[in-house]
């Protein structure tokens, strides 16, 4: 916007994938953005909310790999914002939960630019809603813990508190943890977590490719040894009390409200440097 004296960066949570799970606040920021930087995890129809003349830039950070281009992303954010433009940095799920904002925030702060974080629906909540499984439940699941299955090196973090993760009165959600789950499960079972603890593998939650698999910790540890059909598809692992698994039985509730009428998705390929020319209209 030309009447904005200095640029501004909005770290916007894109939610788990379903464009209907964007917040009104996120839509507002997308509509006003001059430039949108997105990962492959957070693209598709969501970008249709951006203005037709906004720059859409895929920065293609992929889960499970180190990101050598981090400097490049920070540089882009600052370049746009320093030109007085409004920049949206779109992040999958909730940006504050494993969104890896730290480098970009340090860069934006260092450049003296203003920023905000727009919170969103994290994938765990969407997976729970889709499966009809509450994340907490009185008496049986008194807390829920979110951990990552891969740290900055792409490996299982060293500082995981295995005793806490093996607690049967908690629901545990492992983000980006499919590749390392065999090792995690082994360590947890050594801590006393029963192998038949209920588990849920939630792939591509809230998207048309959503796939939910009810299993156990032991069985899942065996199953993940086989590489998935689409290694890039985001996967979430839930295990623990999962109280409703028994109570609701085998009748998961349907995911969410009926399909919504959203504008068609622009044809944007992750990694495109600039997708403006591919947009409709």
């Amino acid at each position: 916007m030309t009447d904005t004296p200095s640029g501004f960066v909005s770290f916007v949570s894109a939610g788990p994938g379903d464009p209907g799970l964007l917040t009104l606040h996120a839509v507002d920021r997308l509509k006003r953005a001059d430039a949108v930087l997105f990962d492959d995890l957070a693209s598709g129809p969501i970008l249709a909310h951006a203005r037709a003349d906004a720059d859409l830039i895929g920065v293609g950070k992929r889960a499970g790999r180190p990101s050598p281009r981090q400097d490049h992303i920070s540089r882009l954010l600052i370049d746009y914002a320093e030109r007085g433009l409004r920049v949206v940095r779109l992040k999958a799920g909730d940006a504050g939960l494993f969104g890896r904002l730290e480098e970009e925030i340090v860069a934006v702060r260092g450049a003296g630019l203003g920023y905000e974080i727009v919170p969103g629906v994290t994938a765990a909540c969407a997976a729970a809603a889709a499966a009809g499984l509450p994340l907490t439940r009185r008496l049986t699941a008194r807390r829920v813990q979110f951990v990552t299955g891969h740290d900055a090196r792409g490996d299982l973090p060293d500082d995981l508190d295995l005793a806490a993760l093996a607690d049967r009165h908690a629901t545990t959600v492992v983000y980006m943890g499919r590749r390392t789950f065999s090792r995690l499960a082994e360590a947890l079972m050594a801590q006393g977590l029963p192998g038949d603890t209920p588990a849920l593998l939630a792939e591509a939650v809230s998207t048309p490719a959503e796939h939910l698999t009810r299993t156990t910790v032991h069985e899942l540890a065996l199953a993940v040894a086989t590489p998935p059909a689409d290694p890039a598809a985001p996967a979430l692992i839930l295990f623990g009390a999962l109280a409703a698994a028994e109570a609701v039985g085998d009748h998961p509730v349907p995911a969410t409200a009926p399909a919504s009428a959203h504008p068609p998705a622009p044809d944007v390929r992750p990694g495109d440097r600039r997708c403006r020319e591919t947009r409709h209209g």
Binding site: I117, P119, V253, H262
Partner: protein
């Protein structure tokens, strides 16, 4: 709202404009789009009003109070302060609503900026505070709203009686219109001719009637319950799906944790049922709430059960889902932004951090149905703890965690009414948590974030980790 927007019928009624300058012409241009009879009183008569021959009736003299006889509205547009004031006083004495151009203080009513898609109209009013802003907003809406929109309204209006015959139930008709206008989000409906629109309406109505009959045959009442996450409080943190569910609800069931602002985003004609604790009302038990949801859904209603934050994080939605499923009621869950995510984002606290936190635990300070929360095993380096409903148990939390090895000076952030108007943030050390709550009179709802990441808050004070009562005496003085 300081003023009430209403639309005034003007067929067969008279509107008087006093004056013949540019201001008067501007008002006449607007009024000429309505079916009102227009009268102008101006000393020079037609001299200044030639353009309006045939549309207005002119009296060529100065204004007199008698001119107000039989007038519905009057505009004072003489561009002379004394003359305009005289018109305003006379109008007030005669009980005729008056608008004095450019003098909001003298106005009984304000003419808003208008987007005209007859019969649809959108009024934008800044109550005289910033008319330029109002006009800019209007320009944006003008650009966004296709010109043919009014025709869509006319076609819908023309179909209402027919639809009543096909779908006698109000709820069925509401669903029909939702479906019809959902299609209108693409401009595709606007491209259709009137005949084609009529055919589409008829076909959709027949489909809806057939679906209703099939549903009845299958023994379904057609009702459903949506457990909807309302987010942490700021209504802008509703998801699009939640917003849509609120707009389409017949019944909305909520409790005190859901912010009033969120309810403002709901369909105004919905029935609102407050099932939380309120002074002077008996509290609803979970069983009574479940019964209500089942009863309303079986009556064919679209029921929204609003839950603060995300329904499946400390929302006790699990029990509601079970009961509804057992009763054969269709249930779906719309996830929401949980309070920890919302409060942390507003404070610019990342819940996870490469260097400080690879795990986050969400925990409640209060266990409903008795039993103390165990604080053992919750603290660890590299972990963030987000405590929901922890205000009344702040002492247990601090003692439990420090007793389990957490450092006394672990950073904590207390976020009261997070994301809502009146949000307050208080920072300090874990060991001081109960005193921070007491000194700042923190009230529920509040989120307590415990861990190194709290230090990254946007307004983390440099002295936050100093003992709270080190300077107790000077503070008391």
């Amino acid at each position: 709202m300081r003023t009430l927007p209403i639309n005034v019928r003007l067929d067969g009624r008279t509107v008087l404009v006093v004056g013949d300058g540019e201001a008067a012409h501007a008002k006449l241009r607007l009024l000429a789009k309505t079916p009102a009879r227009l009268r102008v009183v101006a000393p020079d008569g037609w001299a200044g009003l030639g353009d309006w021959r045939g549309r207005v009736e002119v009296t060529a003299r100065a204004f007199e109070p008698a001119d107000l006889a039989g007038v519905a509205l009057v505009y004072a547009a003489t561009e002379d302060a004394a003359a305009d004031t005289a018109v305003a006083s006379a109008a007030r004495a005669a009980g005729v609503p008056v608008n004095v151009v450019d003098r909001p203080a003298l106005c009984d009513f304000i003419t808003p900026a208008i987007v005209d898609r007859d019969p649809l109209s959108i009024a934008i009013c800044t109550n005289g505070g910033a008319p330029v802003l109002g006009r800019r907003l209007r320009a944006r809406i003008e650009a966004w709203l296709p010109q043919g929109f009014g025709r869509l309204v006319d076609n819908a209006a023309g179909f209402r009686d027919r639809l009543k015959a096909v779908l006698p139930e109000g709820a069925d008709r509401r669903r029909f219109w939702d479906r019809f206008f959902d299609g209108a989000a693409g401009d595709d409906l606007l491209a259709l001719s009137d005949d084609a629109l009529g055919a589409r309406l008829e076909r959709l109505a027949q489909t809806a009637a057939a679906e209703r009959d099939q549903g009845k045959a299958a023994g379904e009442a057609g009702g459903e319950v949506l457990l909807v996450g309302a987010g942490p409080g700021d209504p802008e943190l509703l998801t699009l799906k939640a917003h849509r569910a609120l707009q389409q609800a017949d019944v909305i069931v909520y409790d005190r944790l859901v912010s009033e602002d969120v309810l403002d985003y709901a369909r105004r004609d919905a029935r609102f049922v407050h099932v939380g604790k309120r002074a002077g009302h008996p509290s609803w038990g979970q069983a009574a709430i479940n019964d209500l949801l089942i009863r309303e859904a079986r009556a064919g209603n679209r029921v929204v059960r609003l839950k603060s934050g995300d329904p499946f994080v400390f929302g006790r939605a699990g029990e509601e889902v079970e009961d509804l499923t057992a009763a054969g009621v269709a249930v779906s869950v719309v996830p929401g932004v949980t309070a920890a995510a919302g409060c942390a984002a507003h404070s610019l606290i990342p819940l996870t951090h490469r260097d400080h936190a690879s795990a986050v635990t969400l925990v409640t300070g209060q266990l409903k149905g008795g039993g103390a929360q165990s604080w053992r095993g919750l603290y660890g380096p590299g972990r963030t703890l987000a405590v929901y409903m922890g205000v009344t148990t702040a002492r247990d939390i601090a003692q439990g965690l420090t007793g389990d090895g957490a450092p006394a000076d672990l950073p904590v952030a207390i976020i009261e009414r997070g994301t809502q108007a009146g949000e307050r943030r208080v920072y300090g050390r874990l060991v001081d948590l109960p005193d921070l709550v007491a000194v700042h009179a923190i009230e529920s709802p509040a989120m307590i974030v415990i861990g190194e990441v709290a230090r990254l808050a946007r307004d983390w004070p440099a002295e936050a980790l100093a003992p709270l009562f080190a300077d107790a005496e000077s503070r008391a003085g």
